[in-house]
Symmetry: C4
Subunit: 239 residues, 4 copies
């Protein structure tokens, strides 16, 4: 488990965290700009080598700023920064606790994730943007309501399992990545896949991507730098 | 009834009303910005302790300003401010008259409310944003046409009953709250719930939120400050 | 017929036409801003008391300016202004010729009008915004292709008949009004009605407005001043 | 074949290419602005009389600039400009190689093209904007995944055949034209046709344009100058 490899946790104001903080603020703003969250999503990033993480305080992602970041550990202890944690900090804490491979977690209220969370239909990949998704579709965390307790966070993490994302019934999704950029890129693309699946299902059974096809894609999930540059370029423009 | 607890009604220009006026103008602009009204919705706010209220004159909510507010009582008497009442002032007057718990009323032309107003399908909560809605769905005020008479206002208030909102056939909705912020927040969220329900119904029977689940949410409807901050931040940007 | 009441036609540069020209330019820009045309719609306005009219030259409505207006008569004679008539001038010329009650004609490429033009389903009013529409729905001009000849213009005018609007198969619509403002307002509202009808039909048979209900509305179609003010306010902002 | 008529290929910095470069940059930005690509489409233009072409380097089309253009030949040789070719340069190279009539190629991720690429339904013209399309619909390149090899480029070109466009399964489309402007115009219009077909199919069998009707349109595909002016005018405004 990740806890066995805990490095010293730097102070919240350690300059070593500056770049991560700026990237986290940008990530929050991208989710807002790309229309897959509203006033209520959030992004977190693991302090490398630790089970501590940075996330935004109880504020809308579109209003994120370095001053409104907070540092916590996976059990919810306050480690610095803005004093009000987001209501749903256990989403981040408990996923990061049991997934040492995960460096960043996005929680969004994407309409497409929310849609498939209330349908008896799996969100499966049929667009190449879904190449990071399992061929048999995403799991759904069934309990409605906010994830404000460690117990709920643990249940969400269990539903996520080893996968890239989990839908949250009547609520949205949680998406993980090996970097902030990858988690954001996956979140945006999950919305695009969900939208396409919705559209396609209205006309009958679409052609999904098979497990074999997805395997041939696996080397391809390497564009976050280009995607990131694009998302950043859109932050100054409304659309 | 509210009329038994009438306080002295302040003059329209009483500085005590300044904050409420500014909030009301902001509320109108939020409904416009969030795309749930067009040139024809309005918001009202009760003067505390009275059956009088402030609303916008006969002008589009996106063009609201303090100069274009009007004060009226629940029987339609003019009490100050801009001289042209909105055509549908009885919506506000008659709901505020019989619902002393209500401090603010929003009337929007949301496409999602209008959609469910013409369908034989109830708008029921299936998204956590609908936690303020009754599990068995919203009533519909069946009479088509503008609500320009006291009689129609009374009929609308009767259709609303003790609930949080009523759909208006071929027209839109009326939503109430215990503050301007809550009424606006509910109006925006009602649109999101209606949109999700529309999308979900295209794929079969969705999983609604049960009465039991809604009850566990009840303590949660407390975010208007954060939602409000977010909506306000979007007013300067077109999207 | 209108031709029997021909007044003297003023010169294109007659200052008496200045206000009409400015309104026409604004009308073109509103159709563009409201998203119901793209690079290819147009608006015309009758010179009062004549069978001549002003419209925009062969340019996108979003790029309209007084310098790019043209004056023509109903038989296509050039009477002044920009020298290149719009390709589809016969739409305007031939409708204005046989409908002396009409002062303005809008031709848009609204996706909703185009949709119902290719479906075996009538675009009927089910939203109060459709109160100017016939209860049994709009006619469709069946010939695909641009209306670039007098013959086609006459056929379109015949399909329109005495009504407020006609859909054009695979193409869009033509909407008339007793003022520029009314024709624009109706064009925008026709799009809203078409959108709602599309959405509602996906869920079964909606409740349409009956002929009796529409009759009670008839006195209500009087808001262009307020609608117009709203549309104009949006011209400076992208959304 | 085109290779038999190879002219001398000018140097990348030859001033004769300046206008083409600027048009190509504009074309990329238009595809982004019109919402039919995201961070991953591209446009190319043949150097007249050669089998060489200009396209954008590995950068989002919305971020195109003259500095980020690259010149290549149809076999992938680097001929100047930015050093990183787009991953999918074989799309352009291999289509231009076998289609001497084609002067420009657009590759987009239009949601509507992607939709019909995963459905057992042909994207056929039912809107006059589809007048450049075959009456029996567009072919689909069935292999999922990026087109990063000459072999895949050749297979895509074979699927395109002599036609105006080919859908790419789980991916998007490739559209060709006899000028940059025409290829862009067709790309935008293909999206509009696909959107309308999607909407219409939800209501049953729409009326398609027949081969005879399409033939009468053929002289009409001549508007790129006006369409281009419109698209350019929108580049400075977000919408």
């Amino acid at each position: 488990m990740a806890s066995s490899s805990k490095a010293r946790v730097p102070a919240f104001n350690d300059p070593d965290l500056d770049k991560m903080k700026r990237t986290l603020v940008t990530a929050c703003r991208i989710l807002d700009r790309e229309g897959i969250t509203d006033g209520y999503g959030h992004v977190s990033a693991r302090v490398p080598g630790t089970t501590s993480f940075l996330t935004i305080a109880n504020v809308s992602p579109g209003l994120a700023s370095v001053d409104r970041l907070i540092m916590m550990d996976c059990d919810g202890a306050y480690l610095g920064g803005a004093e009000t944690p987001p209501n749903e900090w256990p989403i981040h804490a408990r996923v990061l606790k049991v997934r040492p491979d995960v460096m960043s977690v996005c929680h969004t209220h994407s309409v497409w994730s929310t849609l498939f969370s209330v349908l008896p239909i799996k969100l499966r990949p049929l667009h190449q943007y879904g190449k990071f998704l399992p061929a048999d579709g995403l799991p759904v965390y069934e309990a409605a309501g906010l994830v404000r307790t460690v117990e709920r966070g643990d249940a969400l993490a269990a539903a996520l399992g080893r996968g890239p994302a989990v839908l949250m019934r009547a609520h949205g999704d949680t998406v993980v990545g090996d970097s902030i950029e990858q988690a954001v890129h996956r979140s945006v693309r999950l919305a695009r896949v969900g939208e396409l699946l919705h559209l396609a299902l209205l006309h009958g059974e679409p052609r999904y991507l098979s497990a074999e096809e997805l395997e041939t894609f696996s080397a391809d999930e390497r564009f976050p730098a280009r995607g990131w540059e694009y998302y950043v370029s859109r932050l100054g423009k409304r659309g």
